[in-house]
């Protein structure tokens, strides 16, 4: 158990080092860089072109379906991790179980495809 915590101590150290790196870089930039703002400089940078419209714009509902598909298959992929760990000890039974699981979800993907929501028209 103490092994477990000390191994996450390494993760914590990496996270701290990463946060420090960003903090130091930004603080140094703020201290060292000259600061002479004007109206042009303070506009939102949008690929070098003058920004058009508001920051808040409504997007099409079809993006939501893609987001939702991502969530569904994200949940599916989470089950693959413990499955991969026990595949060797359980054997073919585990393969069949996972095939059924993915097969049922594939029906959903097939439905999405047949209904044409995957087509970018």
């Amino acid at each position: 158990m103490s092994d477990y915590y000390s191994s996450y101590g390494v993760v914590l150290a990496v996270l701290t080092a990463g946060a420090l790196l960003v903090a130091v870089a930004f603080t140094t930039a703020r201290l060292v860089a000259p600061n002479a703002p004007n109206r042009e400089k303070l506009t939102t940078y949008e690929c070098g072109i003058d920004p058009v419209g508001d920051g808040w714009s409504q997007s099409h509902v079809r993006y939501y379906v893609y987001g939702f598909l991502f969530v569904i298959f994200d949940v599916e992929s989470v089950f693959l991790f413990p499955w991969a760990r026990v595949l060797e000890s359980i054997g073919y039974a585990a393969v069949v179980e996972m095939t059924i699981f993915i097969g049922i979800l594939a029906v959903g993907l097939l439905y999405a495809w047949r209904k044409g929501v995957l087509r970018w028209a």
Binding site: Y4, S59, F68, A112
Partner: protein
């Protein structure tokens, strides 16, 4: 205090403060981003409890996917941002429900895991192997049922989001 207790205190304070920020933020997008911090803290607490797999699932699914879905949902709405439009007049009712849920959870958890038994759980560490063993050996049927749940959610989302060309 041990290192774990210090870590828990930090996570609890950060998680609690960002949870308050979620409901008080004036901008809904900021609220969603504060939610990321809250969910990360919850993930950290799971890690401290030795539930490694659950912790990473929490971060992968909630931070990586659910919040993305929230942000997509926000982008779809024409929601005006501002205090008046986000607030409604049911604060006291909300507070009452919140206190009720908190009291209920404290009671249930206290009944299920009494403080006297805390030593029993001290060396508990659920490995991914153990999770896999229990899902793919003992709980195969619930696991397959999950796929039907996901399928139903997927088809429901498509039916709601699709523009029907035929009719």
């Amino acid at each position: 205090m041990s290192a774990q207790e210090y870590a828990f205190t930090v996570l609890a304070v950060v998680g609690g403060l960002s949870a308050i920020a979620v409901v008080t933020a004036r901008n809904v997008v900021h609220a969603a981003l504060y939610l990321v911090v809250t969910l990360l803290s919850v993930g950290g607490v799971y890690l401290l409890l030795g539930a490694e797999f659950v912790a990473w699932v929490q971060i992968l699914i909630y931070v990586g996917a659910i919040v993305i879905l929230f942000l997509f949902g926000l982008m779809l709405t024409k929601a005006p941002i501002g205090r008046d439009t986000l607030d409604n007049q049911q604060r006291w009712l909300g507070a009452l429900v919140g206190v009720g849920v908190f009291a209920g959870l404290v009671f249930l958890i206290q009944e299920a895991f009494p403080v006297q038994d805390a030593e029993r759980f001290e060396t508990f560490h659920a490995t991914t192997d153990a999770v896999g063993e229990s899902i793919f050996r003992n709980y195969v049927l619930p696991f397959e049922a999950v796929s039907f749940l996901l399928l139903a959610a997927l088809i429901g989302a498509i039916v709601l989001a699709r523009k029907d060309d035929a009719s």
